[in-house]
């Protein structure tokens, strides 16, 4: 077990280096560069000014020099400064947006698992009945409806026609004057629509997954044995079957770790939430290399760690893996 862990951790380093190299090359392959995006079609910008900007960002150096420089800074955990006109440290730009994205995603993830797992189980238990079909229709509706459309409808209904919820953003104007609890309630109200809609849209995947593993487990021999022994149906389902059906869910949880700092561009744009999705999108559109690389590096780390944790969790939970490999 320990050897397995060490091997897995050592494997992460070359993998990480490879990821940085590939992302660095790919982002530079995209046409255009930061200076261009800032100055194109602007009559005020002369060729000399453009050259000056390129030198300022170090874009006049060969690519391998730029990569080496960036990597050596990264080794010191310095993500560099953004190539946007604000020229702020990348880490500042990321860290001011991570808290909101992270909390939104964590709440949405808890809701998603909290709702999707029971839905999946119920659907599996009542397989091919009206309940199952109803649930399918409901979750697929959430999956199929375009988020932005549903979001706009909800904004119009709850914000304009029956103004009970704020339309977009995170705080009301004047919320600075409220007490601590008032501010929290204000924030919570702003999050109702985005989180509800995000959760609704993501129920389908997980609940269908849960349903299919549950159906599979329920058809196995040991379940039949349990039922034959006269074990109560509740116990069969929630004790015998669920334990095994939940195993693949651990992997899914691990996979969702990097997703926690990623945001959806469309979603954040519609709800005017200053999150990571928007930041990344703007970074890509402006060819803000250090920012894009910074976000990708953090994402890559989380993916690697997430995979590792998932594997470990699996090994802990499933004796077959623990003893089979190792």
């Amino acid at each position: 077990m320990f050897q397995y862990l060490v091997k897995r951790i050592l494997m992460l380093f070359p993998l990480f280096l490879g990821i940085t190299l590939i992302t660095f090359v790919v982002i530079h392959l995209a046409p255009g560069e930061p200076v261009e995006m800032q100055s194109a079609m602007n009559p005020k910008v002369s060729a000399a000014a453009r050259q000056r900007l390129r030198e300022f960002y170090g874009l006049d150096k060969p690519l391998y020099v730029q990569y080496g420089r960036w990597l050596s800074h990264l080794a010191k955990l310095d993500f560099g400064r953004s190539f946007a006109p604000d020229n702020r440290p990348v880490i500042d730009k990321i860290s001011e947006r991570i808290p909101i994205t992270l909390s939104l995603n964590v709440i949405a993830l808890i809701l998603e698992f909290g709702l999707a797992l029971p839905i999946g189980i119920i659907a599996a238990v009542h397989r091919d009945t009206l309940v199952d079909r109803g649930i399918s229709v409901f979750v697929f509706l959430g999956f199929a409806v375009p988020t932005f459309w549903l979001a706009l409808l909800c904004m119009y209904f709850f914000g304009v026609l029956h103004p009970v919820l704020p339309i977009s953003g995170l705080h009301s104007l004047g919320s600075e004057k409220l007490s601590g609890f008032g501010r929290f309630a204000d924030l919570a109200r702003h999050l109702v629509l985005p989180i509800s809609i995000a959760t609704f849209g993501s129920l389908a995947g997980l609940s269908r997954y849960m349903r299919s593993t549950m159906v599979e487990v329920l058809s196995q021999d040991y379940i039949t044995t349990a039922r034959a022994k006269g074990v109560k149906e509740r116990v069969v389902i929630y004790k015998h079957a669920l334990k095994n059906a939940l195993l693949p869910v651990i992997t899914l949880l691990g996979f969702s770790l990097p997703g926690l700092i990623g945001g959806s561009v469309i979603f954040e744009t519609i709800f005017a939430i200053p999150g990571m999705g928007q930041l990344f999108y703007q970074g890509v559109m402006a060819r803000d290399y250090p920012l894009v690389l910074g976000i990708l590096v953090i994402g890559a780390c989380l993916t690697l760690v997430g995979n590792l944790l998932a594997d470990l969790g699996y090994a802990v939970a499933d004796p077959r893996i623990r003893h089979g490999k190792g």
Binding site: K44, V45, N87, L173, V192, I270, P274
Partner: protein
């Protein structure tokens, strides 16, 4: 179905205690006169977030929206788009046109209380031309041969040759020398917390959410009536429209469809005033003059004759715009109202094409020397109006036997792979119309190099001469003569088919009084906007 109920229960729980907002649909009478009073705030929205509030370091419109209210320049454009003194009380241009002397306003204070003097102007000039400053705006200031500040309230610049756009270039916001001198401007905290001399004082910037400005009680022109200006960042136009209707936004620029089709309800009109005036921009179809196909003037004239500009304005802008015939905004002093252009006339188009040697082929497309008349219009992604305009033109050109293909490209690859390399046939793009009518950058033959803006390679010695003459004199009548002639030549040569000047369509909450629409728009007298006590909200 238990989960179903949880779901809604949750919404109910989280939304409990949220009825403090007034019902939005109260119709109030609107007295127009009255004595202005202080108080209330204007909440406005922007798609983009400012990038850097030191004006010489940024070029996005959100940054300049904010820095325009926080900083002042030496000169500014008044509501009729004529230059007037701002931080300069007056100025003189020497008879030879080479020396400009600015007499600075006395008693103006920076927001932190320090006095404003010629040292600040000198610093702004020096830091802008400093090669270490990553600014896009050094060019105009580099024309300056020498600058001097003989006393704290006089600033003098000398040029090599008379340069008319020079005067307007001193509208560049003046930066506070006492906070910046001797420091690295790229790392200055002022980029997030600006200190200026303007009508509004910077208060806070919550990243990704809003920028708040407070009225400057000591503003040299008098304190603004509004106490605050709040600039919310709302990246999506539909969301912004919801916020406007929900009463949480006071002002936004409407799209033509919103203006024409969605806001003509009594309910909306009782709560908002809508304004309409030409925007400072035009959309055009530009031809690559490197290609033999477009080198024939008759072909360009024919295409313009085959296009119905009015129809494009109806189809794309719901009528909210006007026909463009040249590079100026209708109604401004450089705009020539008597331009003879090629109006929509397909018969004339076909005749011109016949004269140019094109004959109708079997498939309904013109042919010359065995080649079909076919070209591609390139335009950028993310602008629906341009794509629709291209489709309307495609139909009209087909009718005279021209096969048009449309290709939509992401901005960066559009520039890098097509514009910079000259590998395009025709482009559908737009230009912002600058306040100074100088056309050097877009139309002079020396500006056809890589990454320069005369990318269609228009070269006309007469236009070159007139451009140079126009920027070489401060006499507005002489300049107007030059620009009138240039517009005549462009209308005849048709290097672009000028399509339309769209209208700006702002809607402002009806509680604001004192708004005065003018050629410069509505924001020029923001400091005079006010709200009657009874209607104040914030």
């Amino acid at each position: 179905m238990k989960q179903f109920r949880w779901f809604f229960l949750l919404i109910l729980l989280l939304s409990a205690g949220c009825t403090e907002r007034e019902p939005a649909a109260v119709v109030k009478p609107r007295p127009q006169a009255g004595t202005p009073v202080h108080g209330d705030a204007l909440v406005t929205g922007s798609i983009g977030e400012p990038s850097n509030l030191i004006p010489i370091l940024s070029s996005d419109s959100a940054s300049s929206d904010i820095s325009g209210l926080v900083y002042d320049g030496l000169v500014r454009y008044d509501k009729n788009l004529n230059l007037e003194g701002d931080l300069a009380q007056s100025w003189e241009v020497a008879p030879d046109g080479l020396t400009i002397t600015f007499h600075l306003r006395k008693g103006v204070k920076w927001h932190d209380g320090a006095p404003f003097t010629s040292r600040d102007v000198m610093y702004t000039y020096r830091v802008t031309i400093d090669p270490k400053t990553p600014t896009a705006y050094a060019e105009d200031f580099k024309q300056v041969k020498s600058a001097s500040a003989p006393d704290p309230y006089t600033f003098r610049v000398v040029y090599d040759k008379p340069f008319a756009p020079a005067l307007a270039s001193w509208g560049m916001p003046v930066l506070p020398a006492h906070l910046l001198e001797g420091k690295d401007i790229t790392k200055s905290p002022l980029s997030r917390k600006p200190v200026g001399t303007g009508p509004f004082i910077f208060k806070e910037w919550i990243p990704g959410q809003k920028v708040t400005l407070d009225a400057n009680p000591d503003y040299w022109e008098g304190a603004p009536y509004l106490d605050r200006y709040i600039y919310r960042i709302i990246p999506d136009n539909s969301t912004m429209y919801m916020e406007l209707k929900g009463g949480t936004l006071d002002m936004m620029g409407l799209s033509p469809v919103q203006y024409q089709r969605q806001t003509n309800t009594p309910e909306f009109l009782s709560r908002f005033n809508k304004y309409r005036y030409p925007a400072s921009a035009y959309t055009y179809l530009g031809y690559n003059l490197r290609l033999p196909l477009f080198q024939d003037r008759r072909v360009r004239q024919a295409i313009t004759s085959a296009i119905n500009k009015q129809e494009i304005i109806q189809g794309v802008l719901f009528g909210m715009g006007q026909v463009a015939r040249g590079p100026y905004k209708p109604g401004t002093w450089a705009w020539n109202p008597n331009i003879r252009d090629f109006d929509y006339n397909p018969a004339r188009a076909m005749q011109l094409l016949r004269e140019a040697g094109w004959v109708m082929g079997k498939d309904g497309i013109l042919v010359k020397d065995g080649k079909r008349f076919s070209f591609t219009i390139l335009t950028n992604q993310g602008n629906d109006q341009r794509i629709k305009a291209a489709q309307i033109m495609q139909q009209r050109l087909k009718a005279v036997g021209i096969d048009v293909k449309i290709r939509v490209l992401e901005w960066a690859s559009f520039l890098t792979n097509f514009i910079d390399t000259g590998r395009f046939e025709a482009v559908l793009l737009g230009w912002t119309i600058g306040q100074d009518p100088d056309l050097y950058d877009v139309w002079h033959s020396s500006k056809t190099g890589p990454k320069e803006l005369n990318f269609i390679r228009f070269k006309n010695p007469e236009v070159d001469r007139l451009i140079v003459e126009g920027r070489g004199t401060f006499d507005q009548n002489k300049r107007r003569e030059c620009y009138y002639k240039i517009q005549d030549i462009l209308a005849f040569e048709q290097p672009y088919t000028f399509l339309y000047v769209p209208d700006a369509l702002p809607a402002v909450s009806s509680r604001f009084r004192g708004i005065e629409p003018a050629p410069a728009g509505i924001m020029h007298n923001l400091i005079k906007w006010w709200v009657p006590k009874a209607e104040q909200r914030y």
